[in-house]
Subunit: 243 residues, 2 copies
Amino acid sequence: MAQNIYDEPEFFGRYSQLGRSVHGLDGAAEWPDIRALLPDLGGKHVVDLGCGFGWFARWARQHGAAHVLGLDLSENMIGRARTDTNDPCIDYAIADLERVELPKSSFDFAYSSLALHYIADFERLVKTVHRSLRPGGAFIFTIEHPIYMAPTEPGWTLDGHGRKCWPVDGYSVEGPRSTDWLTKGVIKQHRTLGTTLNTLIAAGFAIRHVQEWAPTAEQIANHPDLAEEVERPMILIVSAQRG
Amino acid sequence: MAQNIYDEPEFFGRYSQLGRSVHGLDGAAEWPDIRALLPDLGGKHVVDLGCGFGWFARWARQHGAAHVLGLDLSENMIGRARTDTNDPCIDYAIADLERVELPKSSFDFAYSSLALHYIADFERLVKTVHRSLRPGGAFIFTIEHPIYMAPTEPGWTLDGHGRKCWPVDGYSVEGPRSTDWLTKGVIKQHRTLGTTLNTLIAAGFAIRHVQEWAPTAEQIANHPDLAEEVERPMILIVSAQRG
């Protein structure tokens, strides 16, 4: 089973104070770009893999989705999602994405925000999602970008000329990375961008869009701390479609 | 028109001494992975964009291609390719890939090795290649990987812990990069991996495989200088198909 940091009180307390936890989708700088890729959700059946507090589930319903199933490993997250949701057409369930089973040909759209980089058996999950989608169904997800995940020491440093840079090493060495983010020893699963895409293609998905997210000039003007995201991508957005 | 460094005597002299210039395809460490992606060339009409000395054109003919058209900007390259080739079913022509026109629906396979990162108008070229392929035709190319191309100072450095790393900056800033490789001021065109793939998709290609090339353990054992390629990818291999 995947590491369940979101049920550790210290981690959960800190996570709950992040902008994206307090302000929801609009608290995530990459959300406008994700939103631009979303299909029309009117009447659609949606599954959200790693639904967290349920922000996307509620947004999807506000935008016409017929039903949303939100899955998350964390009791904390699912508990809070249920508390914050009053909608009979949203269901939440605790589920380990390493082992989850989904009903076949049942969803029109699968969504996942910053969850799948915790999953070791990505191939199994991708096949499961593919089977769970109806033909033509879309799968849009974000993960931490492999450039961001790869390094032994994932933090800004200075190159030989004193210029701020992101120190990439081990890019082709796939597997776990232990980093400190809100707490010590968070385990993430590094995969090359090629592996991520080839796993989708092998499962039968067509790649529709690949976005290595960077902020707009307007976003940087409003949030100068976003400027460094131009130097190396932190978030990868992938849009795929079941044939 | 693209910078034509291959017709500068100093550059061309040095380029001619590289392993891949002397030994051909087998002198390129990424060749086994490219070869594994190639379609059956039997009876096929092939175009090679940036054909250099014609190594691939001759290989394609040895593997059953009906005809190969090799295009290159450099008179030096085309001259040497013609000298080294004795085959009425291979034609070479000088062509600037920024402006080239290709006959419509004429090729079964388009190939390009380490040439397209010199091209500023990638979108125009991709559309041109798409139109020139017959339905179902494949387009396989290699370029320098954007992780390799992006940095202001593209060379190994040490991170804050004294560990060798590749100093990524400017990843999302697309456009020209001037570097010193065999001569000073070689101009290459940096694009994110996302832009490369999205340009192909928008032109009507299906993405079949994306490989961020890394050497095998056996290759490293035989050529220890290849070990650093595991740390950050230098070469990107893309396989696409016209629908």
